[in-house]
């Protein structure tokens, strides 16, 4: 964790332990344009899946998911104070792994009260068991002006590596775009998947133009897409790009957008983490293939 944080704060190469670190064109990696920090293209969400309270069996099973994630290269783990006990679960999992270096600790500030923001961030840090976060985002733009001031001040003091904002479900894109234009944020998190492509119209190209890193949340529409597509035929091109399943194709579609998003699927299963991680390996669809995937999906 410390290694990652120091590297990220220095704007250097996080994940330098990874064999392929530093190659920005590597499909498995993503570079944060504003700081140069590098991380794997597939991260890990924690909404619902890691909210297991004090259940010792489920805490251990989430720790196994985190262990598999780290084993497969690690990267961004995204959480929020809104997600029940998920932050605590992540802290538990990281403890069990003796605090691996290759996790990009990503959390949010989520409170109406700007004055409470710093206390909430301190609580989140304690739950994760980290000294500082690699990225803090204003969750769903709640009291965004005040929280952004707090986060930028933390970044200026060297207590935070990156600042971001989040939205989801295609909500409040106009405001998101305004903030992207007017404030020097490092990351924007939004919903992007094969079925929810509203961000293609404006936010994704704008992020690319402005040099803002993109995080794609709800890559599987909270699991609804893999459920709906189970048993449906894959398009012929799936084999060409090494997608053996719909979940992998769904992720490859997201990762291949020219804005080079980081996808953060959440899961309770070790097998799914491995499947998700492997989606970034091998070729990604080009523009023509992307159009073909959309057409195939829409005709199902």
């Amino acid at each position: 964790m410390d290694l990652t944080r120091r590297a990220a704060i220095a704007g250097g190469l996080a994940f330098s332990a990874l064999p392929s670190a530093g190659r920005a064109d590597d499909s498995t990696l993503r570079r944060v344009p504003s700081t140069g920090a590098m991380m794997p293209a597939v991260g890990l969400g924690s909404w619902i899946t890691f909210n297991v309270g004090t259940d010792p069996v489920l805490l251990d099973s989430c720790a196994e998911v985190i262990a598999a994630f780290v084993e497969e290269g690690g990267g961004m783990i995204d959480s929020s104070p809104m997600y029940g006990s998920s932050q605590n679960t992540i802290g538990y999992g990281l403890d069990k792994l003796n605090r691996p270096g290759d996790v990009f600790a990503t959390d949010k500030v989520w409170t109406d009260s700007v004055a409470n923001g710093p206390d909430q961030i301190a609580e989140s840090r304690a739950e994760w068991g980290v000294d500082s976060f690699d990225l803090l985002q204003v969750h769903n733009l709640v009291s965004w002006r005040g929280h952004l001031e707090t986060l930028f001040a933390m970044k200026d003091d060297g207590r935070l590596a990156h600042v971001g904002i989040t939205t989801s479900h295609g909500r409040r894109h106009a405001l998101t775009e305004r903030i992207m234009r007017e404030h020097p944020i490092d990351f924007v998190q939004l919903t992007y998947n094969l079925a929810d492509r509203a961000a293609e119209a404006r936010l994704l190209p704008f992020a690319r133009e402005k040099g803002i890193a993109v995080i794609a949340n709800r890559p599987y529409r909270r699991g609804a897409l893999p459920r709906r597509l189970r048993g449906a035929p894959l398009p012929g091109l799936a084999a060409e790009i090494g997608a053996r399943s719909w979940p992998q194709l769904l992720l490859k579609f997201i990762l291949s957008h020219p804005a080079r998003p980081i996808a953060i699927p959440a899961t309770t299963r070790v097998g799914h983490v491995r499947e998700n991680k492997s989606a970034a390996r091998g070729p990604l669809p080009d523009a023509a293939m992307r159009r073909e995937i959309i057409a195939h999906f829409e005709n199902l």
Binding site: T49, N51, D55, G84
Partner: protein
Amino acid sequence: METWLTYEPADFLLFSERVYWRLFALENAARWPLPVLAPLALLAALLWHLRRPAWGLRALAGVVALVLLSVGWHFVWQRYTPVNWAAAYAAPLYAVQAGLIAWSALTAPRAGRPGSWRAVTGRGLIAAALIYPLLAPVAVRDIAGAEVFGVAPDPTLAAALGVALLVPGAWRGWILLGIPAVLLIASGLTRALLAGAAALPPLLLVAAAVAANALAPRHS
């Protein structure tokens, strides 16, 4: 407004069904032997009430008030709040309800008319609290995770509804029904999002209690 329209009910769920049902199994194990003792105490108080309505009602109120405090603290605050932060607002209501029940049992002049529909429904709700654990096998869930009076909220609140109907005076009844009804409706809505049909028991309990109190003659 435009933003709110994009929310679906499921967006308000913070946890999965798997996590939810396991809470009860963990609590039963942690509070053992309470899952046996609390229902036995309630049964004894109910039988006493059938023989000596006034003293039996005080015993029922005492048992229910005590376990409300215990469920509010152990289950709702310590076990449920970590997965559902909204439960933090519910936990103090258990203590308030315990206080209201103790107050009504101490200040009620006598037991209600034992043969009235209101009282019969009240006893029926207490019996429902006792047999509530059977819902687990009916729903093909593990019996270890059965919801038991004195340990889990819903059967405990069912007994609280029952006591509300045994206390004389419909207006007292309304005061005593408010909190358990709201908490059971919240439980029903949570279950509707998690598992559909599991919403029915808590909602039916509230419907029965509200109907019995509403239809009761003024002084029953």
